[in-house]
């Protein structure tokens, strides 16, 4: 189990990470999520032993890691762009850590790992001939071959295009679960975090602002900025918040974070505004629309609330200027600050 206790890391005199405490239990996948420059990479590098802590401790199963150099920590790190050794074949890259330890049957283990990441038959290729996704798969296999106590993933999917990212995210999740590897992943992409992690740590400006089980953090962001970073479309305050919460049948709160899909355009037959149900009560004028393959995304000026985002099924009559009724989905709202 990895434990960070009041860890502070300074870089050139400024604190990149300040007073961070967190735990990565054995077998779990913890994601540190934050915008770029929030200090999450520094945190990861400190865990890897690449940056010295200014104060606080990093320990594994209770043993302080201060003074233990990177190569003796058995924490394998996988970089955003793989950092494969360009002059070694795929098999020799993957077998690197095995050769360091003179593991018998290294070849069989390499073949197993290549199979695990879906790269059978790639053993003799050079990294330069691989696509970005293939390179990341090799990097993953190389990290797993080290049989690490802890796997450190630095934005493992960020360098890939959207389609590849989605496929590899699924594979990565499956592989990590199958291997049962304790993993700490840092990312700025909330989808990446959601796809991989079971615990979420949100960082901003070098400070951990929230952590917990992924569903809990998602359902109750600590503050407005966290909510927006977690993919909530808007945060409403005061009267607007009260109106939306009342329409959703939820207790009042000083502000509320609203996902885009929280508000849906009700069927045309109920646009008279007098319809029944929890969604009743929100009516507004469509300001703009944008069509996507799955849904129509709208900005609606709701009476008593102001401009909010909403969605409608394709084909719904949602031209700008039109008055529509909106249904509210309570599960897609997150009250903030009681």
């Amino acid at each position: 189990m990895l434990t960070l206790d009041h860890l502070t890391v300074a870089y050139d005199g400024t604190d990149a990470v300040r007073d961070a405490s967190l735990v990565v239990p054995d077998g779990s996948v913890v994601a540190v999520l934050g915008p770029s420059g929030c200090g999450k990479s520094t945190l990861l590098r400190a865990v890897a032993g690449l940056e010295p802590p200014t104060s606080g401790t990093i320990s594994w199963d209770g043993a302080d890691l201060a003074g233990v150099p990177t190569h003796r920590r058995r924490f394998a790190m996988m970089f955003q762009d793989g950092q494969l050794f360009g002059h070694l074949t795929v098999a020799r890259n993957v077998g690197y850590a095995l050769r360091l330890r003179r593991t018998p049957d290294a070849a069989a283990r390499v073949a197993d790992l290549l199979g695990l990441v879906g790269l059978d038959g790639y053993a003799d290729r050079l990294p330069g001939t691989l696509s970005g996704g293939e390179r990341q798969r090799v990097a993953l296999a190389r990290s797993l071959a080290a049989d690490p106590r802890l796997l450190l993933l630095d934005e493992p999917l960020s360098a890939l295009d959207a389609g590849m990212r989605e496929r590899l995210a699924g594979d990565l999740d499956r592989i990590l679960r199958a291997a049962g590897t304790t993993t700490l992943v840092v990312t700025h992409d909330q989808e990446e975090a959601f796809a991989l992690a079971d615990r979420l740590v949100v960082m901003r400006d070098g400070v951990i602002v929230q952590q917990g089980a992924i569903a809990d953090v998602w359902a109750a962001p600590a503050d407005a900025a966290t909510a927006l970073f977690l993919g909530y479309a808007r945060v409403l305050d005061g009267a607007a918040a009260a109106t939306v919460l009342r329409a959703a049948g939820l207790p009042a709160s000083s502000s509320v974070a609203v996902r885009r899909s929280a508000l849906t355009v009700a069927e045309p037959s109920v646009t008279d505004g007098g319809a029944s149900g929890v969604g009743a009560g929100l009516v507004g004028v469509v300001r703009s629309t944008r069509a996507t393959p799955d849904q129509v995304r709208l900005v609606v000026d709701v009476d008593g609330v102001g401009e909010v985002d909403a969605v409608a099924t394709p084909g719904a009559p949602t031209a700008p200027g039109e008055r529509v009724a909106l249904a509210v989905e309570p599960a897609r709202l997150a009250p903030i600050g009681g």
């Binding site: 190569h71 050794f85 990290s143």
Partner: protein, 557 residues
């Protein structure tokens, strides 16, 4: 600061200790000793003597000659080198590699050899004797251009080769003519490379020693040869020190300019973004190709003249000059020239032995320096320390080899550093002369390695040495071999410092060549030509091997 960062600084200083120590004893001490003789002539500080020197008409002439000859030679080298840089690095065609290699030859020729070749070409009765250029400034400038055009071709050519073509294509699509494209897009992108090449060429021209000494004699002296004449012939140390100071100031200034030019966005940095597709020859390439062919002819002429001259005497073709290389040069028929102290063949063996020593020394120092200055800094203080060390290790570039050699003579002559008779004195001096070249060949390569590669290896369990073997060695071994080749070639041709330090009975080949051309008689002159050919061929062989490694020569200055 934390424990770890103190440890890092200690490790940094530990690595730097050897090069810093060597440089302090064998560079700072001699140069300081030389300056002390000039500035404190009778024990008291007397800068007036130096200022008096700078007021002498002869010194004015020397300074002016150095300035205008170097400027002219630099301008000509750039003008002649640009078309060739284009023709040799942009279109592809058969034999391109061969032409590239041939045009590099002059740069690696020992300076004394170039001097001898041009004398043979320009003297009365020589192939170009009718031009009347022998012993004129024009002859010296021509030789300097001959020597340095390869620098321009190399530096600008490799930048041009890696240039992203799309901005030029975009400009053309916007309606720019080829000339406009060149003027508004290509040339600005090449500017850092051109400035960098021009400053290095100016530096080489302004500190050229062997070429100017053999072609200019005492009539046309540059600052460098004047320092030599003042110290060896006239024993006027204050004057020599004054000129050394002027040279040091100018050269350091130049290096700073070159450094600034390098800091502006350099196209070679972005070159990995796109791999330029090779393309064949187009009609528009013809002028550049023609200019390159002419340049090739111009470069080949002195070399061919040298080779032919070594194979002919009054009576026709002969090998007797080569056969004479094994003897003492005192044949009865030859007007009583005094016998040589050692046969030329023995001088060649001396040269090779010295070059081996100089090579391992400069490689050892150069590697340590390159590692020290390229490792990623963790703190501002560490970064500043590395910056200071980087500048310190480039100092030998700023001081003339002649100053260095003379400084050795006057400071390393008493206990505990009485090294005058040490066989290592010459190799050490040559290693220092070669050091900047070695460092500049290795630094861009080491700096180009993504530090995260080392971190990846470490996180997989590799220790420091293993990381070095996995990440650094595969990238650096070729440049290392290339640097060894350069150091070897520099050492073979080194003349400035060696002329002070080589013992009478233990001369290197360039020294013997210089002695031979100073002696009367056809045999001596013929032997000088033959020995020059041998030296040139040896150097060319070494550099040809380097060229096979395909490492960008000269590194990043």
């Amino acid at each position: 600061m934390t424990r770890t960062s103190t440890g890092r600084t200690a490790a940094l200083l530990g690595l730097a200790a050897l090069p810093v120590g060597v440089l302090a004893v064998f560079f700072v001490l001699p140069v300081a000793g030389m300056l002390e003789r000039g500035l404190w002539p009778e024990g008291g500080f007397d800068p007036g003597a130096v200022l008096d020197v700078l007021a002498r008409p002869r010194v004015h002439r020397v300074l002016w000659f150095t300035l205008w000859s170097s400027t002219t030679a630099t301008a000509l080298a750039v003008v002649l080198g640009l078309p060739a840089a284009y023709a040799l690095y942009r279109p592809t065609y058969p034999l391109r590699g061969l032409v590239r290699g041939l045009l590099l030859v002059p740069f690696v020729l020992p300076t004394v050899v170039v001097g001898v070749a041009f004398r043979q070409l320009l003297r009365d009765g020589g192939p170009l004797g009718f031009l009347g250029l022998d012993g004129t400034p024009a002859g010296i400038v021509t030789a300097l251009v001959f020597f340095n055009v390869a620098v321009v071709i190399r530096t600008v050519g490799s930048a041009w080769e890696g240039l992203d073509r799309r901005p030029a294509e975009a400009a053309a699509a916007l309606g720019a003519s080829p000339v406009t494209v060149f003027r508004t897009v290509t040339l600005p992108a090449l500017r850092p490379a051109v400035v960098s090449a021009a400053s290095v060429v100016f530096l080489f021209c302004a500190t050229a020693f062997g070429v100017v000494l053999t072609l200019g004699g005492t009539r046309y002296a540059s600052v460098e040869t004047e320092i030599y004449l003042l110290t060896t012939d006239l024993l006027d140390l204050p004057a020599a020190a004054a000129l050394s100071i002027v040279q040091l100031v100018v050269v350091v200034g130049l290096l700073l300019v070159a450094g600034r030019a390098r800091r502006v966005p350099d196209p070679t940095v972005a070159r990995h973004a796109t791999t330029a597709r090779p393309r064949g020859v187009r009609r528009g390439d013809v002028p550049a190709l023609a200019a390159t062919v002419l340049l090739l002819v111009a470069v080949a002429t002195p070399i061919l003249t040298l080779v032919l001259g070594s194979l002919r005497d009054d009576r026709g073709w002969t090998l007797r000059f080569y056969r004479a290389l094994a003897g003492d040069g005192a044949t009865g028929t030859d007007g009583g020239a005094p016998r040589l102290v050692v046969p030329v063949t023995e001088a060649l063996v001396n040269s090779l032995r010295v070059a081996v020593d100089a090579t391992w020394m400069s490689l050892l120092l150069g590697m340590l320096v390159a590692v020290v200055v390229t490792r990623r800094s963790r703190s501002r203080a560490e970064r500043r320390l590395r910056g200071v060390l980087d500048g310190f290790f480039m100092l030998p570039l700023g001081v003339s080899a002649v100053t260095l050699g003379f400084g050795f003579l006057i400071t390393l002559d008493e206990p505990p550093l009485d090294l005058r008779d040490s066989a290592l004195l010459v190799p050490i001096a040559q290693a220092l002369v070669a050091l900047p070249l070695v460092v500049r060949t290795l630094v861009p390569v080491l700096a180009g390695i993504d530090d995260r590669q080392r971190q990846a290896a470490a996180s997989l369990g590799a220790g420091a040495l293993r990381t070095l073997a996995t990440v650094d060695l595969p990238v650096v071994w070729k440049p290392l071999l290339a640097a060894a080749g350069f150091a070897f070639a520099v050492s073979l041709g080194e003349f400035g410092a060696t002329s002070f330090l080589a013992r009478e009975d233990h001369p290197t080949l360039p020294i013997v060549i210089f002695r031979l051309i100073g002696r009367p008689g056809e045999l001596s002159y013929g032997m000088a030509l033959a020995a020059s050919v041998v030296l040139a061929a040896t150097t060319a062989l070494v550099l040809l091997a380097v060229e096979r490694l395909r490492v960008p020569a000269l590194g990043a200055w």
